[in-house]
């Protein structure tokens, strides 16, 4: 694909830095959902563009891994292309768009539609790791709130939505409780994806480069989207089948096709959609 960049260590970061990252990752796996501060490095990509995910991927990547990178569920969005190229160039690893073949999947804003397995690692890019940040801007204070499991303010925020709108109006980055202990930001995945976090066989790692935090959900961990007994969590998708593959269950992108209000709904997970079409599924607009 690309020539391997000379003069840099495997996967760009030096071994000392990777060791530091792995220590933070081990700690994160040991305390599911708890944010571990780490010595985030300046990467050759800007903060906010996946530096946390890139550092986590660099720390877990081996020469035999097969890497898939998606942004918005798609392999060919520009930033996904850029990150995939970065690792092809600095680590020379094999890359793929096939979800099943990948051993490491770095993602921004989506969880793939196909269920992941125990042999896979899902690495999330996280812009804001602190789920309480919109309620309390001080990280000193939110740290204390996590230590005391003082999450009442988040319940109040959900309750206020219910009194105003009749339901919770958070549609992405919907807060979850991990292992019954830590409130966690799942990164800005649509709430539709939240149920996939629960009891996932794959290891889930979260990297926030600018905010310098790492956290994790180990395989088969209980993850519950915050809700109330009489207002259970529910998240929808656009009420249409995919125009290309006909899927009635996948998360959809809405594509504006003309100036007269025309819309096409297609799977956001491009690999899922292509695999289904290759298997003979056909949507109404294909």
């Amino acid at each position: 694909m690309n020539e391997i960049l000379q003069g840099y260590n495997f996967a760009y970061l030096d071994e000392q830095t990777k060791r530091m990252l792995r220590r933070a990752l081990l700690k994160a796996v040991a305390i599911p959902g708890h944010q571990i501060p780490f010595g985030s490095r300046e990467m050759p990509l800007p903060y906010g563009w996946g530096t946390g995910g890139i550092q986590v991927t660099a720390a877990v990547l081996g020469p035999n891994d097969v890497l898939k990178v998606i942004d918005q569920g798609a392999d060919d969005t520009t930033n996904a292309v850029s990150i995939r190229r970065f690792f092809a160039k600095t680590a020379g690893v094999a890359t793929t768009t096939d979800t099943a073949t990948a051993t490491i999947i770095q993602t921004r804003h989506r969880i793939p539609e196909f269920p992941l397995s125990e042999n896979q690692i899902l690495v999330y890019q996280v812009p804001q790791p602190e789920p309480l940040s919109k309620l309390e801007p001080s990280r000193g204070e939110t740290r204390r709130m996590h230590a005391l499991a003082e999450y009442g303010s988040m319940h109040v925020r959900l309750y206020e939505d219910i009194t105003r709108f009749g339901h919770v109006a958070i549609s992405y980055d919907y807060p979850v409780m991990v292992g019954g202990r830590y409130l966690m930001a799942p990164s800005p995945i649509p709430a539709f994806d939240n149920p996939k976090l629960h009891m996932m066989p794959a290891l889930q790692l979260f990297g926030a480069g600018r905010e310098k935090r790492i956290y994790a959900i180990p395989p088969y961990t209980n993850v519950r989207s915050l809700d109330f007994d009489d207002h259970p969590f529910c998240a929808g998708r656009a009420p249409h089948p995919c125009g290309l593959c006909g899927s009635e269950t996948s998360y959809l992108d809405e594509v504006v096709v003309d100036n007269k209000g025309g819309r096409l709904f297609v799977c956001s997970d491009t690999d899922y959609c292509e695999t289904r079409r290759a298997a003979g599924h056909v949507g109404a607009d294909a």
Partner: protein, 354 residues
């Protein structure tokens, strides 16, 4: 209609970068700018990029400025990214700014003082009139020269310190923190704060320092001293056991003298704010010193309600590499989240019957 899933991200990126390179070079009929021209003639830009990029290397800074088409934050980012890949082979001895080879040194609190007032190469007192002779390429007449003073030039803070009029700073023997290796933690100690500010954005420090003068956390500052010049950098390799000089760096140091504080146990004394930056960067050093002093409000028993006095707020927002990355990341696709917002808002509107 036939819809083709959007492909071609790779080709778009390659083409965009090729266009960028062409635009950067500009009109081929005009000679390309050389790095030496940048280091020699755009020194203040080079200094700012070295300070915010946290690397003292004028040639690399010049390359970064050329590569970024003069976008100084982008240039600082290039230097920072390069810096991550460099091995750390030694930690320098503390720099002694009293032994600085002075280019400029002024004090606003004494009319005259040992070592004298040295105006140096400054824009102060220039009339800001566009110089059309400069556009025509006129070579300036040589400036008058003086013999460099031989004696070390005492710092004003040390002069005040002889009388015990200003708070004393002593080495507590603790290893200074390093936020390039360890993430910020709060409460952040002053060494870490100063490191963050030294790498911080000049515009941010200027604005926040200015806000303290306008009443948001003021502390009645005087410029005790501002000095610019070259300092030796020494390291002590363990193999030989004594310090060796590895080169000079130009530094700008600003020591503020602020209103006195005292208590039942400590007699009234002046306090200080401190700024130090790579290169010739007076505005930044002064902004840094104002902000440093403002952030000491709580430690000195003052009210701490103004933005510049909020340590967490200041340190989390002073770094322009972090800030520009996160602000500009909004350009990345967000259509998955936007779709979920669309569905939510449609649902709410349907429920209210609109």
């Amino acid at each position: 209609m036939a819809y083709v899933a959007v492909k071609g991200g790779e080709r778009a990126i390659d083409n965009a970068h090729a266009w960028l390179a062409e635009e950067r070079r500009g009109d081929l009929g005009i000679s390309a700018i050389g790095l030496a021209q940048i280091t020699e003639q755009l020194g203040r830009s080079v200094d700012r990029v070295m300070a915010e990029g946290s690397v003292y290397d004028t040639d690399l800074a010049a390359l970064a400025i050329k590569q970024s088409q003069g976008d100084l934050i982008e240039a600082a980012f290039l230097l920072r990214a390069y810096r991550t890949t460099l091995p750390r082979f030694a930690i320098a001895e503390p720099v002694d700014t009293a032994n600085m080879l002075i280019r400029r040194r002024i004090s606003a609190v004494y009319k005259d003082l040992p070592g004298g007032q040295i105006l140096g190469p400054t824009y102060d007192y220039t009339h800001r009139l566009l110089d059309f002779a400069l556009a025509a390429g006129t070579v300036p007449p040589p400036a008058a020269e003086a013999i460099a003073p031989e004696a070390a030039m005492p710092r004003v803070a040390d002069i005040l310190g002889q009388e015990g009029l200003i708070e004393a700073h002593t080495d507590d023997g603790r290893e200074p923190g390093d936020l390039t290796r360890e993430p910020l933690r709060f409460p952040a100690t002053r060494d870490v704060r100063l490191q963050a500010l030294a790498r911080g954005d000049e515009g941010f420090l200027l604005a926040m320092g200015y806000s303290t003068q306008r009443g948001y956390g003021g502390s009645h500052p005087f410029v005790g001293e501002l000095r610019v010049g070259d300092c030796n950098i020494e390291i002590t390799p363990p193999e030989i056991g004594f310090a060796i000089d590895i080169g000079d760096v130009m530094l700008t140091e600003c020591a503020l003298v602020n209103q006195f504080a005292g208590s039942k146990t400590v007699p009234p004394q002046f306090t200080s704010g401190y700024g130090l930056t790579f290169g010739h960067a007076e505005r930044k050093a002064m902004g840094m010193a104002l902000v440093d002093r403002a952030m000491r409000a709580e430690e000195l028993g003052e009210d701490a309600n103004a933005p510049a006095q909020n340590i967490e707020f200041m340190l989390y927002h002073s770094d322009n590499i972090e800030a520009t990355g996160f602000v500009e990341h909004l350009k990345l696709p967000h259509y998955v989240d936007f779709q979920s917002e669309l569905e939510t808002i449609r649902r709410m509107r349907a429920e209210t019957g609109q």
